[in-house]
């Protein structure tokens, strides 16, 4: 049940992809093209999404756990949530098939690359990765779902730093990332395969960085359709008194044990402690009591 990867695991994956025989496009630093996402790992988290209480693979602090525990899916019935897109940390690997189109924007006067564009299929997130050396905005500038990204080439890898992200979710079952999150993406093309290693730093909710990887394969058949979502597309799905924000009070969320019970795991192992991300934890896991249908919520 491989979830979010540790750094060594990502390195091994990258090495394995390097060893793959490349076919047609061998332009190592030209990322242009349309790509179909590969769903080979973390599938339950990525599509359709995992069960409540699954914080595995995440190095959460206590604040993050309390916040995730109080989250309710009903929040998404509020009109102001119905057009919220994935943040960039999730859009490129998340729900519904995150196929990508990449192209470069050049200055016609100099032919210098100004930006690398990355367009996704779900909600049409279009990232502008500025390659012209411009600085990030000051902290008091607006934050967006996709953030402000700058990139530079390190060998054949495009290294992208993203700041100015809005507060959003790490996973769609409660764990959040704050608006102080900084993300480093490493994009590398291996023949027809495109690999992205994402490192998420959040001083508010993480005890150490989250590292995950995603991959795509070149596919010219991918179509990108319009996917606007404006306020007129939102509805009041559940009529409530004004000002109600759905959430669970501390200690009242009985859904949190579902994941542990479904997979026969100890509750502690599902709670998002950093140690549970590493292979050494398997020894500790053997000493913990798995949850069953008869178990009571801790």
């Amino acid at each position: 049940m491989c979830k979010t990867h540790s750094i060594p695991a990502v390195v091994v994956l990258g090495a394995a992809m390097l060893a793959m025989p490349s076919t047609s496009a061998f332009a190592q630093v030209d990322l242009t093209g349309t790509y179909r996402i590969l769903w080979h790992w973390d599938i339950t988290k990525r599509n359709p999404g995992t069960l409540p209480g699954d914080y595995t693979g995440l190095p959460l602090n206590d604040a993050a756990r309390v916040r995730a525990d109080s989250w309710m899916p009903s929040l998404w019935t509020l009109p102001e949530y119905q057009c919220v897109p994935h943040p960039s940390t999730y859009a490129e690997r998340g729900f519904s098939g995150a196929n990508l189109k990449l192209w470069t924007q050049v200055d016609p006067r100099t032919q210098q690359v100004v930006a690398q564009h990355v367009l996704g299929t779900v909600g049409e997130p279009e990232r502008f990765i500025w390659m012209d050396g411009r600085p990030h905005p000051p902290e008091y500038a607006a934050h967006t779902w996709l953030g402000f990204s700058t990139g530079k080439w390190e060998g054949n890898t495009l290294v992208v730093e993203t700041t100015h992200l809005k507060e959003s979710y790490l996973e769609r079952v409660g764990p959040q990332q704050s608006d102080r999150t900084v993300v480093i993406d490493n994009w590398t093309r291996h023949g027809d395969y495109l690999n992205e290693i994402t490192i998420i730093y959040d001083p508010v909710y993480l005890t150490e960085p989250v590292v995950h990887s995603s991959a795509w394969v070149l596919d010219k058949r991918i179509e990108f359709l319009r996917h606007p979502c404006a306020p007129q597309e939102t509805t009041v799905e559940v009529v409530r008194p004004p000002g109600v924000v759905p959430h669970m009070l501390p200690g009242k969320n009985e859904e949190l044990v579902k994941y542990a019970i479904t997979y026969g795991l100890p509750f502690e192992a599902t709670r998002g402690y950093a140690e549970a991300m590493y292979p050494e934890y398997m020894e500790k896991l053997k000493t913990l009591k798995p949850m069953t249908k008869e178990s009571k919520a801790p």
Binding site: A63, V84, V245
Partner: protein
């Protein structure tokens, strides 16, 4: 969770949207995604001045900027008729704030600072009133009585006019013969007591909307209708938990009401982003989604404290339970800790809430109302 009828309505929207696409009726904002809003608008920086300006958006020749670094955020509207400010930052920063304003507006208007609106009485909102208003020039005709200018003699240059809730004046002034907390030259002398006050400046309607018993007892938010920018003052900040000034009549439910009112006014452009921009009292430029997340946080903490009160917990027990723990790493500050915030919430939700310092009755009715 979605009813059949509502599903149908979504289908209808989808069909309308598809039709719009077929006939090319898609607006420019829907036709392409735009880069980060500050991409083409880097901050305006004056060498050696910590007060910096960020263009927000505007309408026609009228432009709205957010000034950061002055102690509290300042909203600046500039156009053909001159400059309007919402709040003036702290007093120690006033000269630098004024320098930044003059640098920024050079070339954008040949008219002076005309209006200052104070969102509340705290020194981070009103501290620059005296210095900055004196550098401006009020529109005396607008505040005259029977053709006689109220503030001084005819043809004498008047400072920019300061507008606020009447409670702001009451808290900044004192009865005759007593020492006032602020100099008279800093007072708002055009006050209002109605739920909303309107004005028209630089070609756009401006709403000054009262937010009762929120951060204080005299809060206003200011909405620039054409520019689609809302200045939130003390009822919304991104740098801390909401500061509830109990002694000045602030309450947690008033804060939540104010945040929900802002959400009612704001309209995002696409994918819950952009559209109406919100300039907080402190912190970064925001849009509706940022206010929504903040509203959620404040509401959730209020609900937890309310539940603990219902279960008979004392203030010490509530504090020990840390009902704001999940937001502490983000919003707790040394000057406004989670404990202080929780105590303020608790006290405004219990019958024995901290008594509100009454407004000075001697000043009731002071100031001029439009």
């Amino acid at each position: 969770m979605m009813s059949g009828g509502l599903r149908k309505s979504r289908w209808s929207v989808g069909i309308i949207g598809a039709t719009m696409l077929m006939f090319g009726l898609v607006t420019p904002s829907m036709a392409q995604r735009r880069p980060h809003p500050s991409t083409d608008n880097p901050p305006v920086i004056l060498d050696g001045n910590p007060v910096q300006a960020l263009f927000v958006q505007g309408s026609g020749k009228t432009r709205i900027y957010m000034l950061a670094g002055a102690g509290g955020n300042i909203t600046l509207q500039v156009g053909d008729e001159g400059v309007l400010l919402v709040d003036t930052g702290t007093a120690p920063m006033a000269e630098k704030t004024l320098a930044a304003i003059q640098h920024l507006t050079q070339g954008l208007t040949d008219q002076p600072i005309r209006w200052i609106i104070n969102t509340h009485f705290h020194p981070d909102a009103t501290g620059g009133n005296e210095v900055i208003s004196k550098a401006g020039q009020g529109v005396a005709e607008n505040i005259s009585s029977g053709g006689i200018p109220i503030f001084g003699r005819r043809n004498e240059a008047q400072p920019a006019t300061v507008v606020a809730r009447e409670a702001v004046l009451n808290r900044m002034s004192a009865p005759t013969g007593q020492q006032s907390p602020t100099p008279a030259a800093a007072w708002p002398l055009l006050t209002y007591i109605s739920p909303k006050q309107g004005m028209f400046f630089n070609g756009e309607p401006i709403e000054i909307i009262s937010m009762p018993a929120a951060h204080t007892d005299g809060d206003s938010i200011v909405f620039f209708r054409h520019s689609d920018v809302l200045s939130a003052g003390g009822v919304f900040v991104t740098t801390s938990f909401p500061v509830i000034d109990l002694k000045a009549g602030g309450t947690i439910n008033g804060m939540i009401d104010a945040l929900n009112r802002i959400i009612d006014i704001t309209i995002p452009e696409d994918h819950q982003e952009g559209g109406t921009y919100v300039i907080p009292g402190e912190g970064r430029l925001c849009d509706e989604a940022d206010v929504v997340y903040y509203r959620d946080m404040v509401t959730i903490i209020r609900d937890r404290v309310q539940d603990m009160i219902k279960r008979g917990m004392t203030l010490d027990q509530v504090r020990a339970a840390r009902p704001a723990i999940d937001y502490e790493p983000r919003y707790a500050t040394p000057s406004w800790t989670a404990d202080m915030f929780v105590e303020a919430v608790y006290k405004t939700l219990t019958p024995s809430a901290a008594p509100v310092k009454p407004q000075n009755p001697a000043n009731k009715g002071a100031g001029q109302r439009r």
